[in-house]
């Protein structure tokens, strides 16, 4: 079981609730802000995230610098806003890779017969024996560190989880009563696959993807934190947090705000994913 599977299981059990909760409302607002930051960071923070000002280094949060300044006098608020693009992009790209691999593996396992299913399953089992970060570290060991590697590594280590959810979903849909009903109606296997099985299998991927982006951002940040991710002076949150940690005893804001936004983004993604899922279920 993976974090995603937990998230998926949890949301499946959640009772319907039509009125959006405070968390959902907050998440929606935050999501709009994050996407704005990613697309047009200058709208939210007009400054230059790379502009150094050594004389203003280590400034604590103030009216001029809401989140304080870093060791080079850069404005942390501007950098956090600017970092949304990189962090979201990394999260999205890793999720797309993980989800893509998961879809391929899961669909292969779920459609190509028992023997293929068995083989893919064993393969997934083996991948599962490398818990999360281990798989990512091993991949980085082989390919070498860097932002691209980090994305692929995170994607790769989430893929088995996706694959298993997709396979299970595929099998559930395939053996569902409505697929039987379609058979009784005389629909061909191909039409059943394309009209019923695949849409019903893949629709939850939107939810999975949303849930996954949050986790992927946390993971990618962990790799950046270990020095295996984004490159300077990129304002990627994990890298900022890692850099800020050095000064934790004298300038807590340097690591606090990037970390806060990693957490907020993950919370936002989880909460939105669940609410989308609920609404899809009851649409």
């Amino acid at each position: 079981m993976s974090e995603l599977e937990i998230q998926a299981t949890v949301s499946a059990r959640r009772p319907p609730r039509s009125r959006p909760t405070a968390v959902e409302m907050g998440s929606a607002v935050l999501a709009v802000l994050l996407v704005t930051a990613a697309i047009a960071p200058r709208l939210l923070a007009p400054g230059d995230p790379l502009a150094i000002d050594p004389t203003a280094a280590f400034g604590s949060p103030s009216l001029a610098h809401w989140f304080g300044t870093d060791e080079s006098g850069r404005d942390i608020y501007t950098r956090v806003v600017d970092g949304a693009r990189d962090s979201l992009l990394i999260g999205l790209a890793a999720t797309v890779i993980g989800l893509g691999l998961g879809v391929v593996l899961g669909t292969i396992a779920g459609t190509l017969g028992a023997r293929v299913d068995f083989t893919v399953n064993r393969f997934l089992e083996v991948l599962f024996a490398f818990p999360g970060l281990l798989l990512a570290l091993l991949f980085i060991l082989v390919i070498g560190p860097g932002p691209g590697t980090a994305i692929v590594a995170v994607g790769l280590s989430t893929a088995p989880g996706y694959a298993r959810i997709i396979r299970a979903q595929l099998l559930r849909v395939r053996s569902s009563a409505f697929v039987e009903a379609a058979t009784v109606q005389g629909l061909s296997r191909g039409r059943i696959l394309t009209r019923h099985i695949l849409p019903n299998t893949l629709a939850p991927l939107v939810v999975l993807g949303t849930l996954g982006v949050g986790q992927a951002i946390v993971w990618a940040a962990a790799l950046s934190y270990l020095g295996l991710g984004a490159q300077p002076p990129a304002a990627e949150w994990g890298a900022m947090l890692s850099a800020g940690r050095t000064y934790i005893t004298s300038a807590w804001w340097m690591s606090f705000f990037p970390g806060l936004f990693i957490v907020l983004t993950a919370v936002c993604a989880t909460s939105l994913g669940r609410s989308v899922e609920r609404r899809m279920r009851h649409a």
Binding site: S72, P232, A243, T246, T249
Partner: protein, 589 residues
């Protein structure tokens, strides 16, 4: 990541490239005390030497050991007993015997239980340690060391000529896998036990750096009996003559060192005689700098190394933490510009780059007073260092003119200069293992200021092996690599043209790819002469060539800061490679 500083002490493969030049006389070097030596700094942000009572400095052939003053800062009477906990941010050594390999983390810990034939005092003068005295023949090819009387290794075997022979053989045995010590002894071709207490070394060529080399912890003298054990055993618990003994080593956790009650061989500049005050030392490895400092604050540890600039600044305003600034010898920390390929094959572009980087402002803001800007190729503790502030002034206008003249007049849409459609790009791989965070931030600021002039500095953080690979494949325009060695001979390792070509292993030290026959010749002569003034002059000329050629952008000394809990008294850094020494230390609790 947590491994803030892993200063792998890297050995060059080019040490043997010396110009044969017979030298005469056996003058030992005495220099002016231009720069402060490592000293204790209490509650002040600026390095300040305190109570440096220089001991007698021995000159000439016959030399007797003297007790030097020490840098004890407390006024109280030393108390015996107690366990000092030391927290190292350096990588945990893989072998405690510094003969094997030979890097700085090994030097840090082995200084507590191993001792060398000679040491340096705070002026950089060679002083006796395990060797009471030494002579050198006129041709500089034969050295005789007279060993101190009554010294035993902690396994009970005596320190004698045979033991020294065994150590040199051990260092020169390829099976040992020594790199640092092996290089330092490159010119030593034979050893002979003249008597029990006199050992003779025969050299193939004169080596003015021999005594400095022998003072390094990587050439410490170990028990011959112990060296005969398997390498695994020897790595786990080397046996020396030092004030402490390795009791146990729990990997990735701590090394436990206990007092050697029979200790008799303090260096000439130690503060007391007899056994150490401390009962034991717990030597821990805490890679995360924030945790390390927090542990010191919380009183969980007594001493930390690799202190970060902000914590040093904090410590200076705190009564409970004392700062010990001990810059390492050898090269200064500098950015080397790859003159072997475009764009830095053009001296004007190199100068333009140097002129367009505002290092002073960055150093003062990032290091908060804990580091002083360097304008020299050598560490400030190297007496022969030449400092040329005039060459490194921040002058973006001059830089722009230089670039315009050099053909980099166009600017692209992002504001970077171009020439024939090629962007003025500086690829700058950064080893996360060798550059502390503040230094990485410094590079980012250099990146930002250089951008204003039109340089596209591309910083890439790499782990050590990827970084080596980038260097080996000449895929860099600028790089910063630390190099620690006692004495100015380090210049030969870093700038001799023979050090451009990678060795079969891929490593080379001349990252600036300086290829200047005149420089090669100056360095070879300096290595071969035993005349102090000649040597100093030769090294001064050599440094001028390097600095005026804008091959390097000096930053500051190799940072080596220790923070001590207020209970720790009498600790100091050894003047050789600035490793901490706890022989005189005691705990005032």
């Amino acid at each position: 990541m947590g491994l803030d500083v892993i200063d792998y002490w890297i050995a060059s493969n080019n040490a043997t490239a010396a110009v044969p030049e017979p030298s005469t006389g056996e003058t030992f070097l005495k220099r002016d005390n231009r720069m402060p030596r490592p000293g204790i700094v209490r509650s002040t942000p600026r390095p300040l030497t305190v109570a440096l009572a220089a001991g007698a400095v021995a000159l000439g052939l016959a030399l007797t050991g003297c007790t030097a003053g020490s840098s004890v800062t407390g006024n109280d009477t030393p108390q015996k007993g107690g366990t000092l906990t030391y927290a190292s941010g350096d990588a945990e050594p893989t072998c405690l015997d510094p003969h094997v390999g030979g890097n700085y983390p090994q030097a840090l810990v082995s200084s507590q239980f191993l001792e060398s034939l000679v040491s340096l005092d705070s002026d950089g003068t060679v002083i006796p340690w395990l060797a009471d005295s030494w002579t050198v023949s006129d041709d500089g090819l034969t050295w005789e060391f007279t060993l101190r009387d009554g010294v035993s290794f902690t396994d009970g075997t005596p320190l004698d000529a045979a033991a020294v022979q065994a150590n040199i053989a051990h260092l020169q045995d390829p099976a040992t896998g020594s790199s640092t010590g092996y290089l330092a002894l490159a010119k030593v071709t034979g050893t002979e036990a003249v008597s029990d207490s006199v050992v003779r070394l025969t050299l193939s060529q004169p080596d003015s750096a021999l005594l400095e080399s022998l003072s390094q912890p990587w050439l410490a003298i170990e028990s011959a009996t112990a060296l005969e054990r398997s390498q695994d055993e020897n790595c786990a618990a080397p046996v020396g003559t030092g004030p402490f003994v390795v009791e146990s080593w729990a990997k990735q956790n701590a090394i436990t060192l206990v007092r050697n009650d029979d200790y008799t061989s303090p260096p000439a500049d130690a503060a007391h005689e007899g056994a150490a005050y401390l009962e034991s030392i717990t030597w821990r490895f805490i890679p995360d700098s924030a945790s390390r400092y927090a542990a010191l604050q919380a009183g969980e540890v007594d001493v930390i190394d690799n202190a970060q600039p902000d914590t040093i600044a904090q410590a200076s305003s705190s009564d409970s933490i004392v700062h010990l600034d001990a810059p390492r010898p050898g090269a200064s920390n500098r950015i080397e510009l790859n003159s072997g390929k475009a764009p830095f094959d053009d001296v004007a572009v190199r100068e333009a780059f140097i002129r367009s980087t505002d290092v002073d402002a960055a150093v003062s803001s990032l290091f908060q007073g804990s580091a002083e800007r360097s304008y020299s190729a050598l560490s400030s503790v190297e007496p022969l260092g030449v400092s040329r502030p005039d060459l490194f002034e921040y002058d973006p206008d001059a830089a722009a003119d230089l670039l315009d003249a050099a053909g980099w007049a166009e600017k692209d849409s992002e504001g970077y200069r171009t020439k024939d459609g090629v962007r003025l790009t500086v690829v700058f791989p950064v080893s996360t293992n060798q550059s502390i965070p503040a230094e990485q931030s410094l590079f980012e600021q250099i990146q930002a200021t250089a951008k204003e002039t039109g340089f596209d500095v591309q910083l890439t953080k790499l782990d050590l092996s990827s970084w080596y690979t980038a260097l080996g494949s000449n895929a860099y325009d600028a790089v910063s690599a630390p190099y620690t060695k006692v004495g100015p001979d380090v210049l030969r390792i870093l700038f001799d043209s023979s050090a451009i070509q990678p060795a079969p292993s891929g490593y080379f030290a001349n990252h600036a790819q300086v290829n200047d026959p005149e420089l090669d010749s100056l360095l070879a002569q300096a290595n071969a002469t035993n005349d102090a003034d000649t040597r100093a002059a030769l090294y001064a000329d050599a440094q001028d060539i390097v600095l005026e050629g804008y091959y390097i952008l000096p930053l500051y000394d190799q940072q080596n800061h220790f923070l001590l809990g207020s209970a720790v008294q009498g600790a100091r850094a050894l003047p050789t490679v600035s490793t901490p020494a706890f022989y005189d230390a005691w705990l005032k609790r």
